[in-house]
Every structure is written in structure tokens, then in C-alpha cells.
Symmetry: C2
């Protein structure tokens, strides 16, 4: 994997990330394809929107269809037939969400499948092995995702284990075809976050992520930690803010120097009828759109906005048509990619502050 920062504007960075399966400009947003498909859209549509890097999830693929199936298919790219870049999260976050179905030890995580209750075990070594077997471009290490709120003691303990697991992950690597990113934990404690960066930054990871945010903490905490941590990460490596977020969150994080993002918001909200537009969020089921024959976002030129009215989109949503999810997802993902593109342009032109001001002058976040 190659990464180059090609321009900066304040702390914000414009760059290029290159892997075996293509390249992407950064800052970039990764559509979430947990199970090897971005819900509601075909790979054709993903490509046409301008995406060349998507995210998938080891935990989910491990349970279904099973990593051995993907290996037999010739790797994840061939199994799902996506010719762009793939980053996989370990699924640690998902495993931690299992609550009582999960138990952490120093060795790794014991968990029960959310599908059939069967018992499994993930270690840092196994996660790297599975990611290499699937041949993904970028794999995330297994980390211990600190919940919010957490006591200082808990967060410290959890951060330290994440660092020990990071070291084990590095040792487990057998190829550099799959780049591996380390993950910074430390909860909402500044000193723990900085300590974690200090311990990880010397390790031979191809990139670093900020984990454990967007887990229920106030937005101000998320912004504070991001702004604290991002600039301390190695300049020459990509920085990825995991699971974030809303357009306004992404803009703040790009300003702090983050390069990569993923979030289920654009796709999940699309299925729930919440659409992102240049004026803010639109709840398409609202009765006020019953006879509104204007496009969803006059500034958008996605397939949905070029072809359909709010009245039709509302009708599809209210009628529970599957096409509602399709058209809404096309729009939201297009909106997110356009947002990233605008930020990249702004950084290249040294106009990030102007972009931000202009964006928020129209986009209502309440």
C-alpha cells in the first residue's frame, strides 16, 4: 500500500492511497458493505458514484458465509466481484456489542454467534490471518473498543491491552499484500489517547485509526478527542476515524487531519427514509411531500435527483417498496461522495475554511 499527502490546508490533508486493487483520493468515505454487499446498490452503482474503496467486516463474513468459502472463491474481491479496494474492520466493535454473549481475556475474545448461538474465539492473530486469507487491501487489528462511559482505570486497562494486541497483530503478519492499520483507544481521556499514540506510532502499521468514538459520548467529546489525536499520528500515514459519521462530524474531522471515514448512516438512514441534502436532512415520509413534485436536492445530480420527485420518493417509502431503499441509498451515498470531493477540492485550493462556511450556511444540522 502506498499513501501520499499531496496538499494540506491547515491540518486538513489531501492525498492518494494506492493498493493492489486500485486507488482512492483522500479524505474519503467508505460505504459500508458489512456482508460483502453495500445494502441497496450494485457494485456498478457504487463505482459510478465515484467510490473505489469500500468497507467490510471480518466478524460478519466469518459467520456468513465463512472465511473458508471466501478463500475457496479466490478471496473477498473475487467472491463479491468488487474490483476496487476493500478495508475490513475486525468486527471487534460488533463483538463487543454482543454484551453477555461475549467474554474478553488477554488471549482474545470468546463470543457466541448472534445468528445461531454457536461458540467462537477471535484472537489478534486470527483476525490478521483471516484478513490475509481474504486478501483484503487493508485489515484492521483486533482491538478492545472502550465503551462510553468508562472509568479511567477501565479505559487505561483496555487501551494497554489494545496495544499488546497490536504488537501481536504485527507479529502475526505473513504478507504485506494486506496492509494492517493499528487502532488508537483510550476512551475520552486525553492522556490515555496520547499515551496510546506514543506506544503505537513506532510500530510498522501502514496506517492508524482512531477507534472507540461515536459510541455514545457527547459530540463535543468526539470532536475534542479527534482534534487531539489526529495531528499526533504519523504524518506520512493515513488516518482513519472509525464509524464516524454525520456530514458535520466528517467535516470537523477532516479539518483535524483525518483522511478516511466509514459509517452506516448514509445507507441505514436511506432505508429509514432520512435523506441528506445540501439544505440538511429530509424526512421523506413527511406528509408535506405528498404533492411536492420538485427533486429531493436541486443541487444534486445523482440518478435519484435527476429522475424522481419528492412525491414519488415519499410514495415508495410509504408503500414500503424495496425501490425506496434503492433510490434513497443511491442518493445518500452520492451525497457523501460529493461532500468528500468538495472537501478534497477545497484542500487542494487552500479554501477549506471557505468551503466549511459555505456548507454550514445552507446545511441545517438541528
Amino acid at each position: 500500500m502506498e499513501f501520499k499527502v499531496l496538499a494540506t490546508d491547515g491540518k486538513a490533508r489531501y492525498g492518494k492511497l494506492k493498493g493492489t486493487h486500485g486507488e482512492t483520493e483522500t479524505p474519503c468515505f467508505m460505504p459500508v458493505g458489512t456482508l460483502g454487499a453495500v445494502k441497496g446498490v450494485t457494485w456498478n452503482e457504487i463505482s459510478e458514484m465515484g467510490y473505489s474503496l469500500v468497507l467490510s467486516n471480518v466478524y460478519h463474513l466469518y459467520l456468513r458465509p465463512g472465511i473458508e468459502v471466501i478463500e475457496k472463491a479466490g478471496g473477498l474481491h473475487r467472491f463479491v466481484n468488487w474490483n476496487g479496494l476493500i478495508l475490513t474492520d475486525s468486527g471487534g466493535f460488533q463483538v463487543f456489542s454482543l454484551g453477555k454473549l461475549m467474554k474478553i481475556s488477554e488471549e482474545g475474545i470468546y463470543f457466541k454467534s448472534h445468528i445461531d448461538g454457536s461458540e467462537h474465539f477471535f484472537s489478534p492473530e486470527l483476525v490478521v490471518e483471516l484478513e490475509e486469507k481474504m486478501g483484503v487491501d487493508i485489515g484492521m487489528v483486533l482491538d478492545e473498543c472502550t465503551p462510553y462511559p468508562a472509568t479511567y482505570e477501565y479505559a487505561k486497562h483496555s487501551m494497554e491491552r489494545t496495544v499488546r494486541w497490536a504488537l501481536r497483530s504485527i507479529k502475526a503478519r505473513t504478507t504485506d499484500k494486506t496492509a494492517i492499520f493499528g487502532i488508537v483507544q483510550g476512551g475520552t481521556y486525553d492522556d490515555l489517547r496520547l499515551k496510546c499514540v506514543e506506544l503505537l506510532k513506532g510500530l510498522p502499521f501502514e496506517g492508524f485509526a482512531i477507534g472507540g468514538l461515536s459510541v455514545g459520548e457527547p459530540k463535543e467529546e468526539m470532536y475534542r478527542i479527534t482534534k487531539l489525536v489526529a495531528p499526533t499520528l504519523p504524518e506520512e500515514k493515513p488516518r482513519y476515524l472509525m464509524g464516524v459519521g454525520k456530514p458535520e462530524d466528517i467535516i470537523e474531522a477532516v479539518e483535524a487531519g483525518v483522511d478516511m471515514f466509514d459509517c452506516v448512516i448514509p445507507t441505514r438512514n436511506a432505508r429509514n427514509g432520512t435523506l441528506f441534502t445540501s439544505r440538511g436532512k429530509v424526512n421523506i415520509k413527511s406528509a408535506k411531500y405528498k404533492n411536492d413534485f420538485s427533486p429531493l436536492d436541486p443541487e444534486c445530480d445523482c440518478y435519484t435527483c435527476r429522475n424522481f420527485t419528492k412525491a414519488y420518493l415519499r410514495h415508495l417509502y410509504v408503500s414500503k417498496e424495496i425501490n425506496s431503499a434503492i433510490l434513497n441509498t443511491i442518493h445518500n451515498l452520492y451525497f457523501y461522495n460529493r461532500l468528500m470531493k468538495k472537501m478534497r477540492e477545497a484542500i487542494k485550493n487552500g479554501e477549506f475554511q471557505e468551503f466549511k462556511k459555505e456548507f454550514f450556511s445552507k446545511y441545517l444540522t438541528f
Copy 2:
């Protein structure tokens, strides 16, 4: 509306149907877009598959979003943004399926909405009015769909009312921009069917449909009535067999001289994981496809077959991914259109029997 039979082979016909919004070759299959959307696929995809005529449903659109919304949008084509031909069924069949929520009188049908229980009334005149208001290319008359089994008396009474309603429908017309098709009823009674044709064939309808089949009768009855009725309908007008059917049913009906078809089978089965291939039906959820990395149908060049394996399609189905419905629907509708195309070619070349023999030599119908 214009219709021309351009070639025949036995009773089978190849023709062209032209309307305000384009044309289609016949025999043709109409994808079902009940609510103004073909579930699981975009209009782009429908066009790319080669479809130029789709079916929608007055009853469903009347309840949601309401015909007045569609009228304000500038008609159904503009509301849904489909630039091809649209035929609407009255929804009589759907209303009859309401059972106790429905009451027929000579005047029309009183019914309660399946959505909110609100009370409504459809008359033959209203259905024509609504179809003209929506500006569809072809509207079906309101008929009384005879259930199966039905006594001779019931079927006779019901057929006679359908004829009286047909006359009222003709009188209600105010434009020829929307063509109106009459519907032949008469249950599984040969003399009633022939009597119905005799009473309807002189009326100024632009086409005729065979209704009341595929309502639970044995397949042999469906074939018998189709083969009896189709050849007695006016030669110069299109013949439409409503709600039929499976590939084998369509082939038999084309052989009998039917030009148009609609059915939820390709789209509904797609969502249920049943796929049509040149070798017969495939139940994609079967465990035997877990590691099957071959395409669904090696003879198919649809987006799904060109890009994905049975193992991936099974994974999407088993994981309940929305993309399963999308990819399966693309395949099944493509399969149906290809079937119609092959039949059209065969008729033009005077090789319909050869086509049929070849098809069934590979396609297993058990």
C-alpha cells in the same frame, strides 16, 4: 394505439404494438410494477433488459398515493418517470381477493382498503376515468373475476355482468389516447367463454384479454381455455393472457396465439430465492451452492450472471441482504425477456416448434 401482426407460425404470432410512449414487439412479457415501481430494479435496469412496456395497478395506485397525486404530477409516466408504455389492470382481481372486505353489485364494487379499512367504490366508469386521468397507454376494463371453482350458474351470471360492464366502460371513454382492453370471462366453461367472446368481439376495444385464469384451476384447464379462446379473438387486435405465468405456461399460450403476458412470478420468486435458468428453476438458498463458484445460468448474460457466482447469490439470500432481491430480480426479468425474444425470433423464422422442443429438452419443469 396501433397493433400489427407481422408474422405467424401456426397460431403463434409475432407483432408490434405502438402507443404514445413507444412500442414493443409481441409476444411480450410485462414486468409488474403494481405501485408504480418494479420491485427491486430501477427503470434504467428495466430498459437495459429490453422492456418497453410495464404493468401497473389502478386499485393500488388509487389507495396509494391516490390518483389525484398522479394527475397533479402530470400523469403516471411523469409521476414514476418511466418513458415507456404502461398498461394498468383495474385491480378488480385484487379487490376480489379482499373477500369479506368487498361486495359486488350491478353498479360496481364496494370495498374496504386493505391498508386502513376505509370504504371505497369502483364502477366500470370510474376505472376508465382513472385510467384516462393517469394517461396510461392501455387500461383494462373493470371485470368480475370468476373464482375457481365456480358453478355454471355463477360463472354465467358473472360473465354476463362482465359484458354489461364492458359496454358501460366503452360508453365512459372520453379519449383514445388511453386504449381500453375488454376482458373475456366465463370460468372453465367452454360455451360461456365462447359466448363471452361473441358478445365482446364487436365492441370497439383496442385489444382483448383472457381473464379469470391462473386463479387456482388445474394447469390443463388453463391451457384448454387459452387454446380455445385465443384463436377466436379478433386477429388484428392484441391478445393478453392476464396473470400468466410460468415459462412453460407462456410458451403454451404463445403457441395458442397470445401476444401479451404479465405475472408476479419472476419478481416475487426472485425475492423468495427461486431463479429461472435454461435448465429449470434453481432454489438459491440450497446448501449445495455454498461453494458453487459457477454462474447461475451459463447461458445467461444478465448483469447477475456475468458478475456473480451461485455461492455469492446464496450468501446474499441466506444473509437476508436487500441486494439478493436486486440481483435475483435482474436475473429473472432478464430471463423472461430473453424467453420472449427467442419466441419472437422463432415465430419470425417459422421455427416455433423447434424452439419449443429445444427449450423443453433442457428446461426441467418438475
